[in-house]
Amino acid sequence: MARFRFPVLIALAVFIVALALTAALKDSHYILLSLVLLGAALFPLFAGLERRPIESRELVLLAVLSAVAAVSRIPFAALPSVKPVSAIVILSAYVFGAEAGFIIGAVAALVSNIYFGQGPWTPWQMFCWGMIGLTAGWLRGTWWMRKRTGMLIFGFVWGFLFGWIMNIWYLISLPDAFSWKLVVSAYIASFYFDLAHAVSNVVFLSLLAGGWIKVLERFRKKYGLLQKE
């Protein structure tokens, strides 16, 4: 069975991609295609994690940071858009880099949804938080990310982007009504939620940034984790 696993998986993937494309072209039905595209976006980074020789210390570090991010979501469960996850993912990515940031964000989404309930939104959240980590890691060397205000602006912008990307999975079920008017009204409806997320990002980042970056950097140095080549 183990020998056939990969060919079978590849065949299945090709089959599903073909189905999704047919559905999109034939019936302009995009739900399946969107899931396939998300899968394609998530796949290379997880495959990178699988292929690369990784120290057990690094693996455990990633697990701890994802778990802290997931736990931080629990006390704020009652407030719909206040999620410290984004701030924690940004800080981790700032210290440990893009790839680590992506994994932490995606795993935090998956794990916290085991407590909050999985749904069609899980892959979207994995994608969003993964992308927050990835972009924060990419930009960590730039001068404005090093400035505290730059990082706060980054968090603020991603608060809105997160909401906008999450709106897509809802808009996709209205393929025919799709027009700029609909998009605008959907984004106006979600404005306060997005604003709450953006503001809470700024608050959490400004509270956490100094202390956490110091702690994480000390760990990176002390144990030689995920060093830049």
Partner: protein, 314 residues
């Protein structure tokens, strides 16, 4: 207690739920969608999940219902104009399309309620540990850390209270600062301890050779039988869909549904796919009930036990 469909091999469950989501996204046909919705609702009720369903239902209805309301006001395609709303035509086709999309969303959301009950996290991890061992280990570890960290955070809160660091007293500013102190302690403590875990993993030889995975699920004859049934009965509607069955054309002009014998075959096969787990669940309920009735001896000499009694993964 797990019984019936829930105690089957994880592969069977994942094939079933993947099939349900796939069909909900592909088969754009009211009869098929209603069948799937009713089938999944029946399965949920048989699994005793009525309460969980009721708790989430208002949210699902709101989410799916808004699609049905929004579509006719933003989409003006279709030839049967019913009335004008703010100078915009509202067409019969757009209303029907919105209702169909509502069904699609509702079905997918409710499939996930059943999925959350049937495919528990350990089963999900079992399926992925052989394909992506590192990601699965990572997820599993962080999953295990969540309750641990919650417990730890409570301990830290109690200890720090003696130093006056308390999130329930003082100004908002002080309380937030105190909250962040608690989180920082949690982070340092957990990282320090987790890295010891990592060293101990390394000392035991993690990463030296290819990781083997322990399987505590065995495919028995019933699992294989049900899996084959699901695959066969699922492939027929899929092939039928590629031939153009199981969809309804709404735009640009509503087409009446056609009933042919090919369509009937496809539909019957689809029904079989949707209802197999409910059938299993119902069968177990029935056997259990009849095994309770000792006052009325059964004509069958050897009463078959439920799957819960014979299953080996207890």
């Amino acid at each position: 207690m797990s019984s019936g469909f829930r105690s089957m091999h994880p592969t069977v469950a994942i094939v079933y739920y993947a099939g349900l989501v796939l069909f909900a996204a592909l088969l754009f046909h009211p009869v098929y969608l209603m069948t799937e919705l009713i089938g999944v609702l029946g399965l949920l009720l048989l699994q005793g999940q009525g309460k969980t369903l009721l708790r989430g239902l208002p949210f699902y209805l709101l989410m799916a219902g808004s699609v049905a309301v929004l579509n006719p006001f933003f989409s003006h395609r279709g030839s049967n104009i019913l009335f004008y709303f703010m100078d915009q035509p509202v067409t019969l086709e757009a209303i029907l399309y919105g209702l169909m999309m509502m069904l699609v969303l509702l079905t997918i959301l409710i499939v996930f309620v059943s999925y959350n009950y049937t495919v528990t996290t350990d089963k999900f991890m079992y399926l992925f540990s052989s394909v992506a061992p590192k990601s699965a280990l990572l997820t599993l570890m962080s999953l295990r850390f969540v309750p641990l960290f919650q417990r730890r955070l409570r301990q830290i809160t109690e200890i720090q209270r003696t130093r006056g660091i308390d999130t329930s007293k003082g100004s908002v500013r002080k309380r937030m600062k105190d909250g962040m102190t608690l989180l920082k302690v949690l982070l340092t403590w957990s990282l320090e301890e987790a890295l010891q875990t990592a060293d101990s993993m390394k000392a035991r030889g993690y990463g030296v050779s290819k990781r083997s995975s322990y399987a505590n699920y065995k495919m028995d004859r019933q699992d294989i039988f049900v899996l084959v049934m699901l695959v066969v009965s699922g492939l027929i509607p899929l092939l039928g869909w590629l031939q153009g069955y199981g969809t309804m054309q709404i735009y640009p002009r509503l087409k009446p549904l056609e009933y042919t014998w090919q369509e009937a075959v496809v539909y019957a096969s689809f029904c079989l796919f949707v209802l197999i787990p409910s059938g299993l669940e119902g069968k177990e309920k029935w056997i259990w009930r009849s095994s309770q009735r000792t006052g009325y001896p059964s004509a069958i000499p050897m009463k078959p036990g439920t799957r819960f009694m014979s299953s080996r993964s207890r």
